[in-house]
Symmetry: C2
Subunit: 484 residues, 2 copies
């Protein structure tokens, strides 16, 4: 008999209680992007602190090192503290640290939600509500898992540390500094053996996965200025070398419809595809038709995805760089017709980076490319390139004990081995934790690909909420078996 059988049974038995607690948490409008709701973010942190303490944990609300957030109007508002929680400090046990966030994306019924976003509403086993899956549901699962161990008088198999923030959806201000400070000898993160983050999603709707790679990124602005004021195209058209003409020319040189990146040197350091990697895509549970529907291309025409096979499409998202043109600041962007010659326009674009690309080297290539192309235009305008921020891709090893422990927990709880997946986007905290502590970070998603994090109608499947609590407990159980 599975030694966690009682644990699983207890969780099934308490299902309704977990739903009600999630309802309470979702009702707290902890939107970090809404300055006038900052108190709600703090309330959400305190709500979680109270629960942690009630379950026997120790909690410190750690002051954000950046202290305040600068508003556009020059005023400041306080940044929320970072919750540092811990259960147990037995030096004979391993220590697992979980990262989570308690703030959520903005949400308004008028955005197109079918239900009130801050009222958890169940429809067909789906728990709709802002934060249900990103990241309140997963983050709180750790507490309910601890509670179950407590109630069943089972010893926690490892020491648990929790680092939960309230600004993730608005740039995680202060987290980088906090992680670095707390990783110093003797500090909160110093003795952590393994990190675990449940803040991403499965590749599909049903099959669980572990995520071992993330793309990095390099964000750019290319600006052109032709005059000191916006000009009316009727009165002044023909007078100046228009900034938009130059900018559009420059932006048009960066990439092609098929995704080819034209910037010389960018592809140089992309890690070659091995046969083993090629094979690894074959078994992954990924349905191109479902995916086409998810990205919204089925309804407006045929053959709209950029690749026709599972492998090519996943490789395009996970292990090859991409370049996207995002938009233009300073140009006319409203509906309707305005006849302006904008004086100064800034094109925004970014590359997603993969191993072994270096953001600095990419920035150098992009800058050279744009300068060369601008020289070809023979324009007298002022032009500049600004590299915003860059991050290297992140790649972990699926052979690491942290991953094998999680894989075996997933298999026990869900009855199937997880897919080993990468993701196209970046999760900066994973890199920060790994860089600061040199310890392995596991990404253990517990929600499905259609959970709609950041969108209208975000949801967490009731069955996935229950399984999450189980899998976290089982994962700790497996981690405890790791020797060395």
């Amino acid at each position: 008999k599975d030694e966690l059988a009682d644990f699983y049974k207890y969780i099934d038995y308490r299902e309704e209680i977990y739903v009600n607690r999630l309802r309470e948490a979702v009702a707290i409008k902890s939107v970090s992007a809404w300055p006038d709701h900052r108190n709600e973010v703090i309330r959400m942190l305190e709500w979680t602190k109270d629960w942690t303490e009630k379950l026997g944990g120790k909690v410190e609300l750690y002051e954000n090192p950046c202290k305040v957030q600068q508003m556009d109007d020059g005023t400041t508002i306080p940044l929320p503290p970072i919750m540092l929680g811990s259960f147990g400090d037995d030096p004979k046990k391993k220590t697992v640290c979980v990262y989570g966030h308690l703030d959520v994306q903005p949400a308004l019924l008028t955005d197109g939600w079918d239900t009130e976003p801050f009222e958890l509403t169940e429809i067909d086993g789906k728990l709709f509500g802002r934060g249900s899956t990103d990241d309140k549901g997963p983050a709180l699962s750790w507490l309910w898992m601890v509670e179950a161990f407590n109630e069943l008088k089972m010893d926690l198999p490892v020491n648990i540390k929790m680092i939960y923030e309230g600004m993730e959806e608005y740039g995680s201000e202060g987290m980088f500094e906090t992680v670095n400070e707390l990783s110093k000898p003797g500090k909160f993160l110093a003795n952590v053996d393994f990190f675990c983050i449940s803040d991403n999603y499965w590749l599909g709707r049903n099959k669980p996965c572990l995520t071992y790679g993330l793309r990095g990124m390099a964000y750019f602005e290319v600006g052109v200025e032709c005059s000191t004021k916006d000009l009316h195209s009727g009165v002044y058209g023909g007078s100046v070398h228009e900034a938009m003409t130059d900018l559009i020319k420059l932006m048009s040189t960066l990439t092609e419809t098929d995704g080819t990146i034209n910037v010389a040197g960018v592809m140089k350091d992309v890690a070659p595809v091995t046969e083993k990697e090629k094979e690894s895509y074959e078994t992954i549970d990924f349905d191109l038709a479902n995916y086409a529907e998810e990205v919204g291309v089925t309804t407006i025409g045929e053959k709209r995805l950029r690749h026709n096979t599972k492998r090519d499409l996943l490789m395009a998202r996970w292990r090859f760089p991409t370049l996207s043109l995002h938009g233009i600041e300073g140009a006319f962007s409203d509906p309707g017709a305005k006849t302006v010659i904008p004086r100064k326009v800034m094109g925004k674009f970014s590359l997603r980076l993969v191993p072994d690309q270096d953001p600095k080297q990419i920035a150098a290539c992009v800058t050279k490319h744009l300068n060369d192309e601008f020289a070809k235009l023979g324009s007298p305008n002022k032009m500049w390139v600004k590299a915003h921020h860059g991050a290297k891709a992140w790649l972990s090893s699926t052979d690491h004990p942290n991953y094998t422990a999680a894989a075996s927990a997933v298999e026990k709880v869900y009855g199937q081995k997880p897919d080993m997946t990468r993701e196209g986007g970046s999760i900066p905290i994973a890199t920060w934790l790994e860089d600061a502590t040199q310890m392995n970070v596991l990404l253990l998603p517990v929600g499905a690909c259609d959970d709609m994090a950041h969108s209208q109608n975000e949801k967490f499947d009731r069955k996935n909420m229950v399984a999450a609590i189980k899998v976290l407990g089982c994962y700790l159980h497996e981690v405890a078996k790791i020797r060395g």
Copy 2:
């Protein structure tokens, strides 16, 4: 002795009174673009009606045929009426009809005004205030001119009709229909002999001009759609044929840094430049250095104007078509860095048209060009071209008696012959009046090129305000001499 000597003297004597009346008019915030200020637009029309009646004129507030303005939220607000005024109806006299508008552009101190925009403020002989030069100052000059004739017991040399609207700065809704209706036999505009509009500006700061040509325009939207939702470039980059990539490629094919228009067929009907026309540019008072400063290119580098001679630059603005890229709707346009793959983007651009270009034929060329270029991309995306609105260029004859009368009035009042100029922008009402009545339209600017209509710190020079009243009276005097 000049037969209008007393008239001029009287006007000089009353200068301060005119300034105070303009102050009263500027204080009425008749901003047509501000729906909650619609009553102020109506108040401004009533203020003008009262003055017209006080000076012996007859006035009808003609109901706008479009009646209401549709708001984005589905509600409606009333459109202001159109003021139809008249002084005299002697069948033995010529009838001159003046068009003007009493609404103004939006203005806020925080936009960068140095003085309160709705408090007329005099600095160094400049009367700063929204509407001072566009178009309250010029439009009201007609009344003060009539007043002077009255007070001096001089008979008005012609019948005067006034058609003054309150929505010019917001699209002149209903004016086209009104002009057409009122041009029918027996209606208000039916017996007008000459039209006069003072709603544009001199080419320079000091030398008056008459304007005999305006460019037309053709406005376009080219759209590309790649999916039914915006996508995160990290998670989804590599999945779809991005709409922005296609759109930027398409927009980049339209024009070159030096202004060349790449759309085949567009230059075909441009009227050839005659020797006579070439010569006509030589005598025009136009200073390239001043102009460079006006458009704001001197401060950010050298040789920023597109042409180095007066003639080339004026021809580029007046008699050759230009193509300007205005911006993109649907793409990221805010400050900062957002990693979005926009699902649907619409590029906006327009051409300024010259004789003998036909907007319909231009639309056909542009549409064919974009379809051809899109085919080259091999993109599976949805693409469309929408021709917004088009207007032919307008060209009058400087030999028309309406122009020679005005030229001689200008010479008498300012002591110099006016330059005969064209303009790059369009003034739709000029075309509407001419098309509906087949009578000549004169553009008689009375403000200087640096009056900053539509910008911060709009002003009307005190001396130009005074001269305007004089020149309008003298113009009517000259018109009365026209035989046949």
